[in-house]
Symmetry: C2
Subunit: 225 residues, 2 copies
Amino acid sequence: MGNKKAIVLVSGGLDSATVLAIAKASGAECYALSFDYGQLHGSELKAAKRVVKAIGVASHQTLHIDLGKLGGSALTDKKIAVPETETQGIPVTYVPARNTVFLSLALAWAEILNATDIYIGVNAVDFSGYPDCRPEFIEAFQKMAALATKAGTEGAEISIHTPLIHLTKAEIIKKGKALGVDYGMTVTCYQADKKGRACGKCESCRLRKNGFQEAGVDDPTRYVC
Amino acid sequence: MGNKKAIVLVSGGLDSATVLAIAKASGAECYALSFDYGQLHGSELKAAKRVVKAIGVASHQTLHIDLGKLGGSALTDKKIAVPETETQGIPVTYVPARNTVFLSLALAWAEILNATDIYIGVNAVDFSGYPDCRPEFIEAFQKMAALATKAGTEGAEISIHTPLIHLTKAEIIKKGKALGVDYGMTVTCYQADKKGRACGKCESCRLRKNGFQEAGVDDPTRYVC
């Protein structure tokens, strides 16, 4: 019998690059899954390819989903501006039901590959108020997944791993550095330009910047200004 | 305040046409959602358009999903043949995690539209052994959805309606006929030809044929032979 197979959601950002390194270090055979969901910051997907190549996976699939067609988020709808100051409550960058959709497709691939492990880089500390980044959501998804699948009905439990869920951005960066992740490859910015350079102003950039400062690690991010 | 908004999953088949008629009869403003998921029987989507037009909806979206890219089912993978005799256990026509993926995207749209009702034509009687057609799966999905969404965190419950779940095919047909559904518009066959004509042999055709017979309703299905 070979290694355990794991589906790892890889966006091209800092968090998911760390998760991929963690999954790989666990000894799992990793299957990376990325999504082209109409996100305006398409440079994320190029970053995902770089990250996956550098860390090494058994296979990498990028699935297209028409979330942009439904609109409703600053990340998929050009008419909604990405905020550059801190906001209260759930921000406009929230993509409705995004993690539910991503995990569902990961579940489909897991079932096809007979993989019982799915890794996702959600984080409940710097979670920006997104409901689908909370531990109680992940637990509910796992229960649902056990009932949704052929594997589940045959007793094979699907485990959703969220190794970053309780870590601060600084702790995530330290963990990734220890595993050799090159964060210069990753793109986190909500409005990065075509070359993958970050704006340095959006919420995602602010969290990332502070993370490197707190971790005492040199920030390899390329900023527009 | 206007009517309640409901997302209705419409495949172009007999069951979902009935569900749309039921949702419409409840007084809800209906938003029909179809999926182009690499299903080999593309005539389903044409049928979905006919059905939606005949019954009348506020909007109809067809989302493309790359399930075919992942393979693993006779419905999305040309290399796997659709069986023409009864099989034991979960058949090869099962599309991994399909209803989970469909409901997740319905949830995304519901959240954008501020709709709290989702209708899906799953059926636990003639359910062909698909795990994601069982009531316990639907309940688990609904619990997960409440935690996944902005609406859920603000106390607005999402309800997943499955009006056909305990009905036989004959009962579904009688219900639809009473609501004026024209089943001649629908395509159920797993391997319908380009003109929407059914094979008459696959499991889906057999269930449908028997349903019309048991209901004592003339079968308007166009068969290849």
